[in-house]
Symmetry: C2
Subunit: 218 residues, 2 copies
DNA sequence: GTCTATAAGCGGATAGAC
DNA sequence: GTCTATCCGCTTATAGAC
């Protein structure tokens, strides 16, 4: 068994198990036995459990941000700011097709992202911010430029609303899909769900401000 | 120290620590030493760590659903279905004022709810569904009735989008608020954030369907 | 009800043989 | 690079004195 083989097996097993149970709830013993490698291999190849967690995220996030940046460059050739629809399309298309084409499950990606936010792993948050913060800020900036009439603070709150809606619903995709299938007999694909999510996100980002026309209830 | 005093001290400490770190990351030793009680007291009064977790949620959710049900009864006196704005106002007002008046921090409540979803605690999910599932379905049903033109599957996906936006942004409220304060010098209160969240949720729930008028991009 | 003491086990990590 | 064996800290939970 070559080195990279062992490394890959560990990463594959860790990715699945972390997404299913969380970081603290997944022991190195479970990971190594699932991967069919020796317990000591994790510390040999990665140094520690924390560094293994970071490696799992790096394998997801580096291709993701690379593809997203290329997509933004391609579309950003024109001088004027991108349209909202285009930006969200880029984001969701990349998250879906870009990752899927590399054999990475987009739902698992979202579950891991959600865990990165909710599980209190300070080292992981720092790792992600320092490594991918620029890409995030670039995308947020372009999104803000497409919404010039929304004040910055409201914009950022809405961005977090959108992030929450996306991460939460996609990371629980299988569970929600199962409920809806049982209650309505309707199967939902990931594509359909993103096709529902995109207009919902647009509606939220472009909602009328407190002072504006519509929504002037009773 | 009376019995109920010890029980309260344990619940108070557990609530704060769980919300800060999660369940697995919080040991009974940390809880009992923070509460200033003996380690064995948890198992004596609650039986196990799992039952303590459930007790923490029961103390939050029982008053919450009680107040919400009363509110829905009060408003539902009229024969016609409630308006969307009214329903969301009820929900957010109850979550905020209702809990705050009982000394329960709404942000902590949201963090715990988020953890209940993301941390893989099967027993907790089962406990919440069996205990509070009816209240949830009642609220969802009234919300659906206020949106007769949205097909059921789309409605439920949007409900989860809304849930995700709410839980995610409120459970990370302090962190997001700190970022915005640093970047824009603007402080955000919880009330202001809910005042931003409500119209965003309405916009998402009432967004045009794929076939409808607006949003017909290029 | 509250305490001490301890059981029994799992966790991450490493030393050292191969 | 891979393995075994082991260290040691920390976990939940309980038995039994007070």
């Amino acid at each position: 068994m070559s080195q990279s083989d062992t490394v890959h097996r560990i990463l594959d097993a860790a990715e699945v198990l972390f997404a299913e149970r969380g970081f603290t709830e997944t022991s190195l013993r479970t990971i190594t036995s699932t991967a069919g490698v020796n317990l000591a291999a994790v510390n040999y190849h990665f140094g520690s459990k924390k560094e293994l967690i970071q490696a799992v995220f790096e394998r997801f996030l580096t291709p993701f941000t690379d593809i997203l940046n290329r997509e933004l460059n391609r579309r950003g050739g024109a001088s004027e700011p991108l349209q909202l629809d285009d930006l969200l399309q880029s984001l969701y298309r990349v998250a879906l097709a870009g990752l899927a084409s590399q054999g990475r499950d987009p739902k698992r990606f979202m579950r891991l992202l959600g865990l990165a936010y909710t599980q209190s792993q300070g080292h992981l948050r720092r790792f992600i911010v320092s490594r991918y913060g620029d890409s995030y800020r670039r995308f947020a900036g372009q999104l803000a430029a497409a919404l010039p009439h929304v004040d910055p603070v409201t914009f950022y709150w809405r961005l977090y609303f959108m992030l929450g809606a996306t991460v939460f619903s996609l990371s629980s995709f299988d569970a929600i899909e199962a409920i809806l299938r049982e209650d309505f007999g309707a199967e939902s694909s990931l594509e359909e769900t993103l096709a529902r999510l995109a207009p919902a996100a647009v509606a939220m980002l472009t909602a009328p401000m407190p002072g504006e026309s519509a929504g002037d209830n009773h």
